[in-house]
Symmetry: C2
Subunit: 429 residues, 2 copies
C-alpha cells in the first residue's frame, strides 16, 4: 500500500436500493467519516443483487482505485451475493472461514439464538480473505487484495456498518496512509442570522480571508451548518484565528459547535442555568414538547407542556379569557401572552414559550394569511412577544416555529441583545 | 426507440452527494415513480462535479443503456457542469438555447426577480438538444440522443425534479414504450400483527400461492408495508384474489391501503366516527399530539393534549391522586387510568390515550426496566389498559409507543376483536 492519500470508490449492492424502497443513508455516513479523517470517496456505483453485474463492477473498480469499499450483500439469504461475486472476480473458491464460523457460533450462543442453516452461509467467504470483525451482528466483514486494490466488504445494516467503520476500517486506513493530508476543521450550527445572507456577510466582513481556509455551508434544517476547513496542516493556526473571527461576528446566532441539535443545546442551557421550562402550543401541536423530551435527562428542566389546539381549550386549560379570543382572535399578541401566563402558572416553570399561528393549508385570511404566527416567551416578570411570517408547507412550518420557539428562549436565557432574523426558505440542492 | 421495456441507468452529480453533506433521496424517488409505471433503474453512478469524469461516465453509460437519466449540475454556478459535459461527450458545442432563454426571462419576470448574469449560464445547452420544461424553477432540463441512448438531464432540487419527472419525463417514456410490462400491485400498511412472523404466516396459510404474484415487504417504520405485485398483465385477476385473501387474514391489522400514515388513518377514522380525541403523555413527551396535529384538518377531531412529564404535573394538571403515584409508581395501571380520566375530563374529548413509561437510557429498575410502558385507552365508560415492553433506543421507543397509542385507539373505534401483537425489533437492511 502507498502511504499517500488513496483513491477510494464505493460499491453499494441491494435490490431495495435500486427499487427506491429505501433511501441510502450509508454512503453519506461513510463519506462523512472518511472526510473527517482525510480520506475522500471519489466515485460510487449502486447495483441490484445481480451476480454477473457485481462481479463485473468489482473487477472494473479494483482496476481503477486503491481502495474499494463494498456495502451490502453479506446477509444469510439467496440475495446476498457479495462473497461469491468477489471470489469469482478474484478467481478464488468460496470456503467456510474458520474465524467467521466461530464468530457466528459465539454470537448466537451469547444471545441464546439457534444457529440456522441459512446463517452458516455467512461463514462462506473467498478463500484466503481476512475477516473484519463485527461485534454487533452476525455478518462479519472481509477484505481481499484484487488488482492491487484493497477491497473491503461491509454489512448493509447501518448500525453494523457504522460500528465496523469506526472500530476496524478507519483505524486500519489511518495506519496504512500515515502521510495523507489531514483536514482540520470547525463546524458551527447557526440559527436566526438570516442564513441566506451569511455567505455575503462573511465575504463583506473578511475581504482578506485566507485562501487556505475553505468555507462551506450545509443545511441542517432548520439550522445552517457552517464549516471552516484548513486545506493543509500548515494552515492550522489560521483556522483557529478564522474561527475566532466568525465567532465574534455571529455571537449568539451560533447554537452549537459540537453538533448538538437545537433541543440538545437548549436543554443543556436550561440545566446549566437551573431553569425549568414549559410550553403552550397551538399550531405546533406538541412538537416543541416532543423535541425537548427527545433529549435524555430533560426531566430536570421540563415537567409539563400544554397542547391547546382549540379556542375553548385555551380558555379551559390555560385560562385565556374568552373575550380576548373574541376580540383579537387566537393568533394575536394578547392571546399568546395569556397562554404563556397560564402555562407558567399551571406548571410552576421558570420560563416558557407559547405559540399560536396558522399552519395551513386551510384557515388563512387576508389579514392573517397561512404562515402567520405569534409567539410569546420569557418569564412571568419579563415576557416578550412577536409575530412572524413563515409561509411554508404545514410540517415544515411546525418544524421552523418549534426551532424558533426554543431559540427565542435560548437567547432569553443568554440575555442576548442580538436580534434574530428568522425567515427565508433555504433551498437544498 | 424500441417499444419494449428499456434498460435505464442513473447518473447523479454533486459534490455535496460525494462529501456526505446530503443524503440522496432523489434516486429513491425516481426509482419508485419508474417502478410504478413499469420501468426499472438497473444501474446508478454518483460522482462529484468533475468535468472529465462526468464526460467519461456519460459516454460509457450511453453505450450500455437505452435511457440515461442525469440528475444535478444544472444550476447557475461554476460547479454545474452537466450541459458542458454532455456537449463534450457528444462532440457538440454549447450554445444559448432560445427556448431555455425565454423560459429564464419569463420565470424571472413573473416573480420580479432580476435575471443575473450567472443565471444566463442556465440557457447555455448542447447544440441541438431538446428542452424539457421546468415550470417550478429556473433550470430547464434537456435531452439528447447519444450513442442511441436517450440522455435526459434533470435538476437536482427535489421538488423541481419531481415535477419534471411526473409532468414531462414519465408521460414521454409512457408514450415511447407502449409495450412494456406494466406492474399491477397492492400495498398494505400493517401494524400490530407481529410483523416478523408475517412472511411465515403467509407461507403457512397460502401454500398454493400463485407464482405470478410476488410478495414483498418494506419497513415503513413503525409499520410494515406489504406489497403484492403481479408479474404480468395476465395475472391481474389473481392479484385481486390474493389481495382479498390477505385482507381476510390480516383484518384490522391493516392500517391503510392508500399509503396513509398511522396518524392520517387515525384522524380520518376519528372524523368519520365523529369522535374527538385527547392524550395524556409522559414518556412520549408530546409526540402523539404532534403526530396527530401533523394531519391537516385535525382540528375537528383534536382539541387538546397534555404533556405531564413529572409526577407533580400528573397530579396538578390531570388530577392523578398523589397516593396512587406513591403506592404504584408513575409507570403503573392505576396511574395511566387516572391520567386518561383526567385528560378526558379536562378536554371533554370522547376518547383518548395515556402513556407512562421508561424511555431510558436512565430511570430503569429491575422491576421496571427501561422499555417498560403502561398505556390506558378508550372512553370514560369503557377504559382499557395494558403494559408493554419495548426495549429500544429512546427516540425509537417514543416513536413505537406513539404508534401503538394511536393504533390501540383505532382498534377501539373499530370495535376490533383482533388482539394486537406489538413488539419485536425489525432490522432494516
Amino acid at each position: 500500500m502507498a502511504d499517500k492519500t488513496p483513491s477510494i470508490a464505493l460499491l453499494l449492492t441491494g435490490n431495495e436500493l435500486m427499487s427506491g424502497d429505501i433511501v441510502d443513508s450509508n454512503s453519506a455516513m461513510i463519506a462523512t467519516e472518511m472526510l473527517a479523517q482525510g480520506f475522500s470517496v471519489e466515485y460510487k456505483v449502486t447495483v441490484a443483487d445481480d451476480l454477473p453485474l457485481l462481479e463485473r463492477e468489482l473487477y472494473r473498480l479494483s482496476e481503477q482505485f486503491d481502495v474499494l469499499l463494498v456495502n451490502g450483500g453479506l446477509g444469510p439469504t439467496v440475495d446476498d451475493l457479495t462473497a461469491e461475486a468477489l471470489a469469482n472476480a478474484a478467481g478464488l473458491a468460496v470456503k467456510e472461514h474458520p474465524v467467521a464460523l466461530s464468530h457466528l457460533k459465539a454470537f448466537c450462543a451469547a444471545r441464546n439464538f439457534q444457529l440456522s442453516p441459512s446463517n452458516l452461509k455467512q461463514a462462506m467467504l473467498p478463500d484466503g480473505c481476512d475477516v473484519i470483525p463485527n461485534s454487533v451482528g452476525t455478518a462479519v466483514g472481509f477484505s481481499l487484495m484484487l488488482n492491487h486494490c484493497l477491497v473491503l466488504c461491509t454489512p448493509g445494516v447501518p448500525s453494523e456498518l457504522k460500528h465496523m467503520l469506526m472500530h476496524e476500517i478507519m483505524p486500519d486506513l489511518d495506519t496504512a496512509y500515515p502521510l495523507r493530508a489531514r483536514p482540520m476543521r470547525h463546524r458551527m450550527r447557526v440559527f436566526g442570522y438570516g442564513e441566506s445572507g451569511l455567505q455575503q456577510s462573511l465575504e463583506d466582513r473578511f475581504p482578506n480571508w485566507p485562501a487556505e481556509i475553505e468555507v462551506g455551508f450545509r443545511a441542517s434544517l432548520p439550522m445552517l451548518e457552517l464549516k471552516l476547513q484548513a486545506r493543509d496542516q500548515s494552515a492550522a493556526s489560521q483556522l483557529e484565528q478564522c474561527a475566532g473571527q466568525v465567532r465574534a461576528l455571529l455571537g449568539e446566532h451560533i447554537v452549537s459547535e459540537n453538533g448538538s441539535s437545537m433541543a440538545e443545546s437548549f436543554v443543556s442551557l436550561l440545566q446549566s442555568k437551573g431553569q425549568r421550562f414549559t410550553c403552550a402550543e397551538s399550531c405546533t401541536g406538541g412538537m416543541i414538547a416532543s423535541l425537548v423530551t427527545e433529549v435524555s435527562g430533560c426531566s430536570s428542566a421540563f415537567e409539563a407542556g400544554f397542547v391547546t389546539y382549540s379556542n375553548s381549550m385555551k380558555t379551559q386549560v390555560l385560562g385565556v379569557a374568552s373575550d380576548l379570543l373574541e376580540q383579537h382572535g387566537a393568533v394575536s399578541e394578547p392571546v399568546v401572552r395569556a397562554m404563556l401566563a397560564g402555562a407558567l402558572a399551571n406548571s410552576g416553570a421558570d420560563i416558557g414559550v407559547s405559540v399560536s399561528g396558522i399552519a395551513g393549508p386551510g384557515g388563512g385570511s387576508p389579514d392573517k394569511p397561512v404562515g402567520t404566527v405569534w409567539l410569546a416567551w420569557g418569564s412571568h416578570e419579563h415576557m416578550l412577544a412577536s409575530a412572524f411570517f413563515i409561509p411554508v408547507q404545514r410540517r415544515r412550518f411546525q418544524q421552523w416555529v418549534s426551532a424558533m420557539a426554543m431559540d427565542l428562549c435560548r437567547r432569553f436565557l443568554l440575555d442576548s441583545s442580538q436580534e434574530p432574523n428568522y425567515f427565508r426558505e433555504r433551498r437544498v440542492k
